[in-house]
Assembly symmetry: C2
Homo-oligomer: 340 residues x 2
């Protein structure tokens, strides 16, 4: 691959995508006739259609969706920016957003931050291709070019509502419920198992919230936070916290909790007898493991509904792009099952 000195477009396979004009020229017809052939419209002879289609094929012609959208008024497109799609919670949320968008006739473009070549550019790029942006880690300042574009932060803070829409995940009440539940269950040394985020300095917001809530358990010292790797075996960590006297493990999310449960089982540790385990999210799997997982559950479908409704309102101009009216809250609820 010889790189030309200046800006000569690559010659080889993809010189320049063929347009309707190229096809028209090659088939010796007008552009309109090409349109008719390609879109299977009436008012064209079979012979001509054949000829046009052949020309199109030879040129590897594909209609530009932009030209088409311009004249046809394409559907609203929602850009969804997800941190990490291999995280079940995010994956389910993405799916729910797709589903909630369908009744509106919207298209949904899904983009992932964590595994992107240029993570910080994902949202910016996407914002130029869609009508609204929803997601995590979207830096509103980066999108200032997108004047008037609805932006909704998922799991955002009230502060973020000063500059964009926010769907808040209300965890405080449920965390308090959890602390109370653990307290009456006799827990005295709860520990928070946080997910080790790349590049994160301290504990996650969620872990901090958990610690704060747990702090209200009488007779218990401040709950320690232990960062664990998302995909690891956790065996060492488990042995360590057990040796440290932990009698309740609050995991960052259900996925981690289920892994913990699995690890404890292979260690022969009784749950909830010897140690209790709690997850966060309320994913389907949490109800399918043994013992069934006690968890702080949030209704993902509800989040998606609220989000889409909020965006729809913004698009119509019925809801301001930021401020109080652009703030929604979906609560977590304590789901007591067998593991704690």
């Amino acid at each position: 691959m010889s790189s030309p000195p200046s800006s000569t477009p690559p010659r080889g396979t993809s010189a320049r995508r063929a347009t309707i004009i190229d096809v028209a020229a090659r088939a010796g017809v007008s552009r309109q006739t090409v349109t008719r052939a390609v879109n299977d419209m009436p008012g064209i002879s079979a012979a001509t259609r054949e000829r046009v289609l052949r020309a199109a094929q030879e040129l590897n012609y594909r209609p530009s969706r932009f030209g088409r959208g311009l004249v046809e008024q394409g559907p609203t497109t929602l850009g969804v920016v997800i941190k990490d799609l291999s995280n079940s919670f995010f994956a389910e949320l993405g799916a729910a957003l797709v589903r909630s968008s369908a009744p509106h006739g919207w298209n949904v473009v899904l983009a992932e931050i964590d595994h992107a070549p240029e993570p910080e550019r994902v949202a910016v790029e996407l914002s130029r291709r869609v009508d609204a942006i929803v997601g995590y880690g979207v830096d509103i300042d980066d999108i200032r070019g997108a004047i008037g574009m609805p932006v909704v932060h998922l799991d955002g803070s009230a502060r973020q509502a000063e500059s964009a829409g926010v769907v808040q995940f209300g965890a405080a009440a449920a965390m308090d419920d959890l602390a109370r539940h653990l307290e009456v269950s006799g827990v005295r040394r709860p520990m928070v198992l946080d997910l080790a985020m790349a590049g994160a300095a301290g504990p996650s917001i969620r872990a901090q919230g958990l610690v704060a809530a747990l702090d209200r358990i009488r007779g218990a010292a401040a709950a320690p936070v232990v960062a664990v790797d998302a995909r690891d075996g956790h065996r060492d960590v488990l042995e360590a916290v057990l040796a440290d006297g932990a009698d309740a493990l609050i995991a960052f999310n259900d996925e981690l909790a289920v892994r913990l449960l699995h690890g404890l089982r292979s260690l022969g540790v009784d749950v909830p007898g010897r140690v209790r385990v709690v997850g966060v999210d309320g994913l389907a799997i949490s109800g399918l493991v043994t013992p069934e997982l006690t968890t702080l559950a949030i209704d993902i479908a509800e989040i998606a509904e609220q989000t889409v409704a909020l965006v729809a309102g913004m698009l119509e101009g019925a809801v301001p792009l930021h401020g109080e009216q652009a703030l929604r809250t979906v609560p977590y609820r304590l789901l007591v099952r067998d593991s704690a």
Copy 2:
């Protein structure tokens, strides 16, 4: 703006989306100046920018992504049509496709068939908005309008390769391995638990393949196929098949298998002692339940890679849109763990 006598657009909230021209008029500047303000470009005075932005805001102006894409040559957009995103396998596949597309700089539009208002129109509609289509249940004949558009069937048949690209999931070999494994384990009465699909007449293709493979177990009669509901408790079904003497349950997929495991546990039935359980897919959860699930696993990331590579080849014109060269196969592999 004097509205012409005849086609007055609706006045209310959503009259007609404001264009750059409306903004220019309102701000008393040229379109180009609006572009400069909106895109945060240099060569414009702060005062003018302010004025333009205000006008834009007042008109609820958002740039059209089509007009923009037309002149800017937007990225390739891949349309992914998934049957049911609440099925973990499909959700993971969708996520994997997003991830595999990122290095190419492609955008991915995800659409779901099963919960769409008009299921049969999903793929057709989408095909007019994207550069290539990948997915399940895409009727190639419906998309004939999309001349030259790459279409790839996921989990397709060799026959479908006559008209489109296909990524085949090769199950035969793994199913044979499974049958052999069950045979030497002493299984004599395996049963297939199929997912009851709405509107499906008989057993799924997968169930049929399983039955065919199981048929080779010496001393066993043809394996019965029992259709079960995706979300149900399965208790009745479980009791029935157990009463019927089943000593191995092959589930349509891991999700069902995990539910089965859960049901069996609450029934106090020993797995694999009393009955063995096998899943299909190889999802993450299959390794996190007790006993760990024996399953026919397929590499989802590999499927996504192959699919994206195939589409890329088609887009470049390097790979034909159908035929042998447009056929790829990703195999299932028998993953023997504890449940069978």
